[in-house]
């Protein structure tokens, strides 16, 4: 009969309309900004630089200004200048640091390739998305002071990834310490007896 399909369709829309009055599951809209949905852990938008602690972010940046992310960034939104001097990193090894580290968020396309290619776990993806600015030209160009965030913040937003990274870095650090200790021991006792383990360092 002509019109059956129409009536059937009207029944569907009526069911959806009336159903929304007694089934809260049917409300699929979030009233942003009063209500906010929880972001998934994997959510990413723009990069930030990881520093070891919040007290001295510029002194404890993990970045060693190797410029791999600058080269690999597809839209070329990263600008780095290497430092002239060296500073000790978390393992005590003297390393370069970025004298200038700028990211233009207006150019960044949130692809996460800088994070994937970084060999030092120094750059990670942030979750801050309310970044509107009235300043037209430099409002979204972030310098290293604005980009630096402590590792505790990274642990907060990406707990799973942070646990994996921290575990790996701790293992690296331990290996480096063991190596340094062994080297120091070898230096202190040039001919150790082969059957005995090397003596522990004095410190």
């Amino acid at each position: 009969m002509l019109g059956t399909g129409l009536l059937q369709g009207l029944a569907v829309t009526a069911r959806n309309l009336l159903g929304s009055f007694h089934d809260p599951k049917r409300f699929v809209t979030t009233q942003y900004p009063e209500e906010r949905t929880k972001l998934p852990e994997a959510y990413r938008n723009f990069p930030f630089l990881v520093s070891e602690n919040a007290v001295d972010p510029m002194g404890t940046l993990r970045c060693v200004a190797c410029q791999i992310c600058e080269k690999e960034c597809p839209p070329q939104c990263i600008y780095i200048e290497k430092s002239k001097d060296k500073k000790a990193d978390a393992n005590g090894k003297p390393q370069l640091y970025p004298a200038v580290f700028d990211i233009d968020l207006a150019v960044c396309m949130s692809c996460q390739i800088c994070v994937e290619v970084c060999p030092f776990d120094a750059i990670k993806m942030d979750q801050v998305f309310e970044l509107a600015t009235a300043e037209r030209f430099n409002g979204l160009v972030l310098n290293r002071e604005a980009l630096a965030k402590p590792n505790s913040y990274f642990q907060e937003i990406h707990p799973t990834e942070a646990a994996e990274v921290d575990g790996r870095l701790a293992a690296d650090r331990k290996a480096a310490e063991d190596k340094a200790r062994a080297a120091a021991a070898a230096k202190a006792a040039p001919k150790p007896p082969s059957a005995l383990p090397p003596p522990p360092p004095a410190a």
Partner: protein, 390 residues
């Protein structure tokens, strides 16, 4: 040319066209539809010549969204092109990623772990559901059903986008596939969530079909409108649901059997008339088959690594050679053609975009139809201008 062209491109299938200067009927009217027109799905322009309300000539004009995609691909590293492929057909970033990853893997002879292959199938079928749902919503929007079907479609699309977001970190620009696997393993509970979404999708399709499939207005607007004959579709290189709606059984998942598709049981729905209604119907039936594939893939997905441990991310170089690789995207055959000279970036990078090639027959479908039907026909071709213009 030997003999007459069997499919002349400018043959009007509709009523006889009157001469231009007919004193009784007046002149032809040339209308520029677009580039800023809500029904052109982006910035697309149709120069339509009208005789009353009947289309006698249609010239598509595109390129307004040209972003130099292929030249950028030749100037960035292989990995650096991957996020750009997200932006080709921005509804189907997962299948674009897969097609590109497949091309580079073929070039480099890179193996992919089984778990990654299954995950790719799952993501591709979710993308197909998402794309076809959106298409049905927009097609009805083009017919004049403002709002309701589109909002129902977007409600369901949101569930798939949430899955993509919790997996890859981004709803649409996923950038998830890598050469030799996928980027990260799904988080805990993701596969269960995907099972729930796939399991509930059939119920949504039932509701959606109750709303639309038997609707008399939709039938009147789409049946017999924009008929695409099978031979014309084949000779024009049309692929995907457009081709299958014209009654040609050609699905790369069956023909090439790439990935792990040969392990799954599914049918290829075909249309009988090649009109707009068939194109809608074929997509709905394809979604039902996709749900079946999803169910099988989510049941059989093995454990293990997600990435080939030998795969290199940084400093990736492919040996010299050329390769063309293609997959069945939701819109048709999406392929990537790469020539490598052994350097860090390809010497030539070419995309075979299904939207653009399906769009080439637009004039043949629209001649003799009314101006209001061109909008519906364009909607049923399923274009995304990001892919047409690149």
């Amino acid at each position: 040319m030997i003999g007459p062209d069997p499919f002349p491109l400018s043959s009007p299938p509709g009523p006889q066209v009157r001469p231009v200067h007919d004193p009784f009927h007046g002149d032809l009217l040339e209308v520029s539809m677009g580039p800023h027109h809500p029904s052109t799905h982006g910035v697309f322009r149709m120069m339509v010549t009208l005789d009353g309300e009947t289309v006698v000539k249609l010239k598509p004009v595109f390129g307004y969204l040209h972003r130099n995609h292929e030249k950028i691909g030749e100037n960035t590293s292989y990995l650096g092109s991957m996020p750009y492929t997200d932006r080709l057909d921005y509804l189907c970033s997962m299948t674009n990623n897969w097609a590109y990853a497949l091309a580079v893997e073929k070039l480099a002879g890179q193996a992919v772990p089984e778990r990654a292959e299954y995950l790719r199938v799952i993501l591709a079928e979710l993308t197909r559901l998402l794309n076809h749902t959106c298409l049905a919503g927009f097609l009805l929007q083009d017919c004049g059903a403002s709002g309701t079907p589109l909002m129902y479609a977007f409600r369901e699309r949101e569930k798939i986008l949430d899955l993509f977001e919790s997996l890859s970190g981004s709803r649409m620009m996923c950038n998830y596939q890598r050469f030799g696997g996928c980027r990260v393993d799904p988080p805990a509970g993701w596969l269960e969530a995907a099972r729930t979404v796939a399991g509930n999708y059939g119920q949504f399709l039932d509701e959606y079909e109750a709303l639309l499939t038997g609707n008399e207005i939709l039938m009147a607007r789409t049946q017999g409108v924009g008929v695409l004959p099978g031979p014309l579709a084949v000779s024009a290189g049309v692929t995907g649901p457009m081709l299958r709606a014209a009654g040609v059984a050609y699905d790369l998942r069956k023909v090439d059997g790439y990935g792990v598709y040969p392990r799954f049981e599914f049918r290829v729905p075909l249309g009988a008339h090649g009109d707009t209604y068939d194109r809608y119907m074929v997509r709905v039936l394809e979604m039902r088959e996709s749900i079946g594939i999803l169910r099988q893939a989510l049941r059989d997905i093995p454990g293990g690594p997600i990435m080939d441990p030998k795969a290199r991310l940084r400093g990736f170089r492919a040996k010299p050679g050329e390769v063309y690789s293609r997959i069945e995207g939701p819109k048709g055959e999406i392929g990537f053609y790469l020539i490598s000279e052994g350097g860090p970036n390809p010497y030539r990078y070419r995309v075979r975009p299904p939207s653009l090639i399906n769009l080439t027959i637009l004039e043949d479908l629209c001649l003799g139809q009314s101006i209001a039907d061109t909008v519906v026909i364009l909607g049923s071709i399923d274009i995304v201008l990001g892919e047409v213009d690149r």
